[in-house]
Subunit: 329 residues, 2 copies
């Protein structure tokens, strides 16, 4: 029943990415190897502070050793004010190998747990073009990117519900901006008048790739047309005899909607790119492939770094630093 | 109990604007005077075709005369394919005094009812910049605008859940476009991550007018920044020590969100305006006042026409035309 025995002697620490709607945990060897994975749908939005320890034990209890304390390093919304315990934001610009500096220890009852929550980043407006913004979780991926590639620099995009664009320079993050792309897609596809037209997104359906690319280019060329193009999807569904029928029809319109919202993001992000800069995409393969296609449609090169590898490198960096630092008790 | 007696001898016809989520009805004298008003929350989205007659009778049954048939002239979503009976779209460009041409009579059982549903308009893409679009209800307001002011021409904006911008020329509508403005506001304010920050919209709170105007100008100048400005509202709420507290804080952020979504609409609509054109706003006073302020912030003049007066003039025009035409039985 317990995994503790098979992990015994190899498990060095546990990494956790605890977001708004779920958590993912990794059992880590000292050399950075992933020994086991676990997860739960109990994210910050469904938890009170006193629920976190029990949720953590329910998720990784099987990994706990019979003696000694297991280091658990947590990034994400668990460190928000409304989370387990607040790990106050570090201000941008900041070096990314210093996240452990802002870490805090929540109170835990189980003597086997040594839990540390990493801070997020905040940005205040200034004359250098910065604006109010916050992140929690993505900073650890960025720290991991730099841990893996010391020379990583330039624009980095982390696609998602709240997509982040960050600029890295000499081991530091200098600017970032959040785009509501994934959330906008979900609201429009499932809650707006467009829900009657938008089907399951399936880029393998014929014509979907072309519809996606065309929409990206349309909005990037004329972002002011974003809103009428949205209702235009509904009108096209009502009027366009050239659309396929059935499942292919809904997929075609979903591809177009995806292109409109990602195109709006790229129209905004593109304004911050220097000529010929290569964008580093950090995330899961399918979503990064979609972003790479959209960027390519605008003549922008990109490369991908795996999101899980990045967050584990970032958590590992913090774990190593905490062996020297002692976080706020 | 019945209003029929007091309306007797004066009631000539009934006008109905039957939308997706409600219906409004007016008892009309032959000279265009409104004798009584009624309404219901039973819009197209909550009705099957066989429910319409009973809903109409529950709403205006008190007005029905003891003998003879009462003309009931209906615009809006009741004439949609998923409504009472489909009144097929007329294609743009079209003259607006010809709506009766596309009217249909749904089957009714009550011998006192003579019901006619007016058509909506559709637009097909072409080389003149038209794109797929549809409207149902607003065309009757536009017809009424022209019935009241034969010389009405140029850009007309009808703010709302799905705001319409139309161009009138010599009694005809030549182009139109739909902006998802009201629906976007509702989704963002009540269903997105911004719901934690957006309060009740109250333009009388100090600073709200200025926040609204600044947001309109920001997005009109840089529509590509729409998406990061949205998340910026949440970040500002978390970080900005300069915001007021309590109710005023939520109202301030609501004013800014309203400015962002209306600013995005105006950025798109502005591209279709000739220099020094005056925009005719058709709708309710509060919303039109807000749009007038936004337009003014972009240096665009506007004037307002009351939305109820416009729809009644449009329905009256159709009623008069139907005395000569006979709609599709």
């Amino acid at each position: 029943m317990s995994q503790a025995r098979e992990l015994a002697g190899r498990l060095a620490w546990v990494g956790v990415d605890w977001g708004s709607s779920n958590l993912r945990a990794w059992a880590m060897a000292g050399d950075g190897q992933v020994l086991a994975r676990a997860g739960s749908e109990r994210g910050m939005l469904s938890l009170a502070p006193e629920d976190y320890e029990a949720t953590l034990l329910a998720t990784i209890g099987d990994w706990l050793p019979t003696e000694g304390r297991l280091p658990v390093r947590v990034c994400g919304m668990a460190g928000a004010r409304q989370g387990w315990r607040e790990a106050a934001y570090l201000s941008v610009p900041t070096r990314l190998d210093e996240l452990a500096r802002g870490a805090v220890r929540p109170t835990v009852e189980d003597p086997r747990l040594d839990v540390v929550l990493l801070p997020g980043l905040c940005q205040q407006p200034d004359d250098a073009g910065r604006r109010f913004d916050v992140m929690r979780g993505e900073e650890t991926q960025l720290a991991g990117l730099i841990a893996r590639e010391a020379e990583a620099a330039g624009p980095v995009c982390l696609p998602g519900t709240h997509a982040k664009w960050a600029r890295l320079e000499a081991g530091a993050i200098t600017h970032f901006a959040t785009f509501l792309t994934g959330e906008l897609y979900g609201l429009l596809a499932r809650q707006s008048v467009l829900r009657h037209s938008i089907g399951d997104d399936d880029p393998t359906e014929p014509g979907c790739r072309e519809a996606f690319v065309a929409a990206v280019q349309e909005v990037a060329a004329a972002p002011e047309a974003f809103s009428p193009r949205l209702f235009g999807l509904r009108a096209q569904d009502l009027l366009d005899g050239g659309l396929p029928t059935g499942r292919a029809r809904g997929a075609r319109l979903a591809a177009r909607l995806s292109g409109l919202v990602i195109g709006l993001e790229l129209a905004g992000a593109r304004a911050t790119l220097a000529e010929d800069e290569v964008v580093t995409l950090v995330g899961a393969e399918a979503l990064c492939t979609r972003y790479a296609l959209a960027l390519e449609a605008l003549g922008i090169d990109s490369r991908r770094v795996d999101g899980e590898a990045a967050v584990l490198a970032g958590l590992g960096l913090a774990h190593a630093a905490l062996a020297h630092h002692s976080p706020t008790p």
